[in-house]
Subunit: 366 residues, 2 copies
């Protein structure tokens, strides 16, 4: 089956609805594992990588969680398919650059994803909508437990799970949440919040992880350390910080609406006006305007809209998703035109926002 026949629409795949989904788009837990007595992928020869990949892939595909899923060697995927998987957060940008000897296995709803021979032999992740760190942890822990019965993971009594990069050694866990923080950005408090998170040992990154821009006011918060704490402690710590950021975002929105509602209305109104009427629009501008539209939705300005409508648009307007929808290679200019066509069509039935004359009334809707 081709990837695009398999991949369900965002709203029917991982889903968009979860606890505190007005801030937390998704939560993820990923574990790094390696097979004992086998060189790490970047040290191994091609034949060894192919052999290890084949052993692992067989076991992963055999998991009951992966029934009806998707499995493919990275060399069999096109550039657009790989980029689509990156946009869905199902593989890393690093894994998209791999070829022979690397593979990917996805569960039917794409909530479980296993990268084989990325930086480590195994990178398995569980992705959940909204704030569901605990649930994501349970799901990936089950996969890990099942695989540990058939695969011999490299483990040291002193260091814990061994990984290619020392930053992953120990639990091999990375716990992250994708947060939508337009209030903190508009209130110019985002840098203070990022700094505070850093001081608590968390990394805050852009939409696509390390070294990427915070497009669409989306920020990925994750643990930096994997050693010296249990998985449960790490999850609790990240959860605490995320809950704190949620409170901060709520307060920022409240203060903005109290002190400068017109500024907020202006951003949201213009974003809506452009999304609904542009005939050419870049991916970056789209993300930033959809972010403001999502804020307007949170504040109750678009009563006819579902959140899944917005989160779906966040995804399908990205370059590879757009490219995949239209046959033939599109230039950046053509993509901008198709993206605008898609948005105008999507917004055809979205009524102009009606902002309350009493701004505080929209606060309760958050």
């Amino acid at each position: 089956m081709k990837l695009h026949e398999f991949l369900p629409p965002v709203s029917q795949a991982v889903g968009c609805v979860g606890p505190n989904d007005w801030v937390v788009l998704s939560t993820r837990v990923r574990l790094a594992r390696n097979l004992r007595s086998n060189l790490f992928p970047d040290r191994a020869k091609k034949n060894d990588r192919i052999r290890v990949c084949s052993i692992i892939r067989k076991e992963v595909e055999a998991l009951p969680q992966m029934a009806g899923g998707f499995a493919e060697s990275m060399e069999s995927l096109s550039a657009v398919e790989k980029q689509t998987l990156v946009e869905r957060h199902l593989i890393s940008r690093e894994h998209a650059m791999r070829g022979a000897g690397s593979a990917l296995v996805l569960s039917k709803d794409t909530s479980l994803s296993v990268m084989i021979n990325e930086e480590d032999h195994l990178r398995m992740q569980s992705l959940k909508p909204g704030m569901q760190l605990q649930e994501a942890w349970v799901a990936i822990d089950e996969v890990d437990t099942a695989l540990s019965k058939t695969l011999d993971f490299a483990f040291s009594d002193e260091f814990g799970y061994l990984t290619a990069c020392p930053t992953n050694v120990g639990t091999g866990i990375r716990v992250s949440a994708m947060l939508h923080l337009p209030g903190l950005v508009l209130a110019e408090q985002i840098n203070r919040v990022i700094q505070a998170a850093n001081e608590l040992g968390l990394a805050v990154r852009g939409l696509y992880g390390e070294g990427t821009e915070a497009l669409g006011n989306l920020f990925q918060v994750s643990n930096q350390r994997t050693l010296g704490q249990t998985e449960v402690e790490i999850i609790e710590r990240v959860g605490k910080v995320v809950n704190n950021i949620i409170e901060n975002e709520k307060n920022a929105r409240g203060l903005l609406l109290q002190n400068n509602p017109k500024m907020v209305y202006n951003h949201i109104g213009r974003a809506y006006g452009i999304l609904a009427n542009a005939h050419s629009i870049s991916s970056k501008e789209t993300m930033n305007l959809l972010s403001l539209f999502r804020l307007g939705f949170d504040l109750g300005f678009f009563p006819g809209v579902q959140r899944s409508f917005i989160d779906e648009l966040f995804m399908v307007t990205q370059p590879a998703h757009l490219q995949a929808r239209f046959a033939g290679k599109l230039s950046a200019e053509e993509r901008d035109i198709r993206r605008a066509d898609m948005l105008r069509e999507a917004f055809r039935n979205v009524e102009r926002p009606s902002m309350p004359s009493d701004p505080t009334s929209s606060l309760d809707k958050t």
Copy 2:
């Protein structure tokens, strides 16, 4: 009567409908005259200015063309009133700075306006909608002829009419047209057209004359010389150049729609989206977006709209008009909010544009 009780809405005053009004917003002819044996205003003492002003005002007010009109000393007008007159193009920015000893007389429909003791003792203008240079000339020539029977104008057989500034000596005529040239601006041909007009002895300026920016793609074209040609020759020359620019604008729009329709649609769609949904907007941005909206109207994208609706908005969204509508002094920030409120209200019933899939079909509508 207060100025704001007198001033009719733009569409009912000078009007918006005239030949080639899709490019030519208005045409104007003004004549500079001075009384013999009296110092020019900038040389005269205050008492002399008051005396001259009183003599001229009496004769101007007595003209049948001025019946039911408006007459006021400049010192009796508030700053907002003066600025409103500048925005209507009924007085110059220079005249707005005058006080005691200077005055203004307007005809009932504001198509005739006489400034007393601006730079010259008399500056009389006739303002017409669309391309009506000849009609504007006839109207102001009648005023001049009538006044010359009761006032003794300074005239030299060698130089013609004498004026304070040598650039006005001779006929004392300035013939100008206010042109809307979004096509030439979008096609990046405007500088070539301005240069060609300059070489033919015409000045091209921004919305408010000398030294002002070309806001809203509006350009004022006028003769530079007043000496050595008859009034009729000057009017013919300006008319020729304006007709040539109209052709250039038409061609530019045609080529844009053939070669890059999406760019044109994109500008117009976004302009509409912002005008209809912003909650704060500056005067400058408003002018520029209304210009694109007007282009969209010309191309038939807004079938439910009248041209007067647009030209009225061009006027009433300007700072003094806005200030006059709301009691109490508004800060720039408050004005931007009120302006956006006014625009959203005005656009409430303007449907989203529907651009043709065949762009050349909209050409005929120009």
